[in-house]
């Protein structure tokens, strides 16, 4: 047992420095080192090398490095979060976009219509004076009459509905007769519902 070969001893030295040597083997190595001066010198040299390398001072990163790193990162993953929300709620997203488009188109329509406009199938018997639309006494207008941005005075017969948008309806004269409904619309909300219901009316009756 005492006659350990030097090349075997060197392997054991390294294992020992690795903290990887069983107790009996440590004893065997010690016995060899006592007898073999050259192996003893080698072991001392290896041990010193280990100690010296371990003792090298730690190099710290410069202070500005953290900031530099954080600034170099690609922009945060926020856009991904936004799109994933849209993906998770497709119906809500679609409804929101629809609403925005609808509202903006109605708002633009509302703003455009500042001028007087009169519509209906029978405008021959209607008199227009400035901002005033008159159905004269003794005249009969067939079909609906719609007036936007104007005042309306009915003296004769109207064989249909009368709609006044953003205007005034002068109280009906005794001679007047309106066969259909009378609607007066003043506000944007009513305008909106008027548009929507007439839109769906068009769809329903195809007129």
């Amino acid at each position: 047992m005492a006659d350990m070969k030097c090349n075997v001893a060197v392997v054991l030295m390294h294992d020992h420095l690795d903290g990887d040597l069983a107790r009996e083997e440590v004893i065997q190595l010690q016995q060899h080192l006592v007898q073999c001066p050259s192996c003893y010198a080698r072991y001392e040299s290896l041990e010193r090398t280990d100690a010296l390398v371990k003792a090298l001072p730690i190099e710290k990163a410069p202070d500005y490095l953290s900031d530099k790193i954080m600034k170099s990162l690609p922009s945060p993953r926020r856009p991904a979060a936004w799109t994933s929300w849209v993906r998770r709620h497709p119906a809500v997203s679609a409804a929101a976009i629809f609403l925005v488009v609808m509202l903006s188109s109605f708002v633009s329509m509302w703003n455009q219509s500042q001028e007087l406009s009169v519509s209906g199938p029978d405008l021959e018997h209607v008199i227009i004076e400035g901002k005033k639309v008159i159905v004269p006494a003794g005249q009969k207008v067939t079909g609906d009459l719609t007036v936007v941005n104007g005042d309306v005075q009915v003296l004769g017969d109207l064989d249909g509905n009368l709609t006044v948008i953003d205007g005034n309806l002068t109280p009906l004269a005794s001679t007047a007769h309106i066969a259909g409904e009378i609607k007066t619309i003043d506000r944007a909300v009513d305008w909106f519902w008027y548009k929507v219901s007439s839109y769906f009316g068009t769809l329903a009756y195809g007129s």
């Binding site: 040299s45 290896l46 390398v53 979060a81």
Partner: protein
């Protein structure tokens, strides 16, 4: 309960920049020390550390929580260092007609590091010699010796970081230690 780094990594993946900043603070010095000893150059060490964190950030979704976070980040940093050393060697070997630089990784031929801080001027001759000896280690021993001695890793941890068998790591530690012993023996 998952380890702190794993929890921070999860938060960072969800876009929490502060969680990532904490990871940076936990590892920047360790990685800088590793990269400085590997490359022997402060500017390169800084570049390696920055590149490491950038890769970590971009690949957070690929981090496997079954392995230690430190293993993962050290692997990225070590591989970046090894790549740089190999490239450097390739560049210098182009115009190296003689064999006089064989076994070196170009460290000795690198322009001197002019960013040496004051403290370095006070370094003992011993430390300078050790630093020089580590610098001349062949790449495959160098990474292992640095992880073992300067990052205080076990052989098993090194084997996880470098993805090689423990027996290989062990053999290289032995050879690396012998290499350093021979370099330092007659100088100290």
């Amino acid at each position: 309960m998952k380890p702190l780094e794993t929890r921070l990594a999860r938060l960072a993946l969800r876009g929490d920049q502060r969680a990532f900043a904490e990871i940076v603070d936990m590892y920047k010095d360790k990685l800088y020390h590793l990269a400085y000893r590997m490359t022997g150059n402060r500017q390169e060490a800084e570049d390696v550390v920055q590149e490491t964190f950038l890769r970590v950030y971009k690949n957070l979704d690929r981090y496997d929580e079954n392995q230690k976070f430190s293993t993962w980040i050290y692997r990225i940093a070590t591989n970046l260092c090894i790549d740089r050393l190999r490239k450097r060697k390739a560049i210098y070997s182009l115009d190296a007609e003689s064999n006089e630089h064989e076994g070196l990784d170009g460290y000795a031929m690198l322009p001197s590091d002019d960013r040496t801080p004051e403290s370095e001027l006070l370094l003992s001759e011993t430390q300078r010699l050790i630093h020089g000896a580590i610098a001349t280690l062949p790449v495959k021993y160098k990474s292992i010796m640095i992880l073992r001695y300067l990052q205080d890793m076990s052989l098993q941890e090194i084997s996880d970081v470098l993805e090689m068998p423990v027996t290989t790591v062990k053999t290289r530690v032995h050879r690396g230690r012998e290499f350093l012993r021979k370099k330092l023996e007659h100088k100290l």
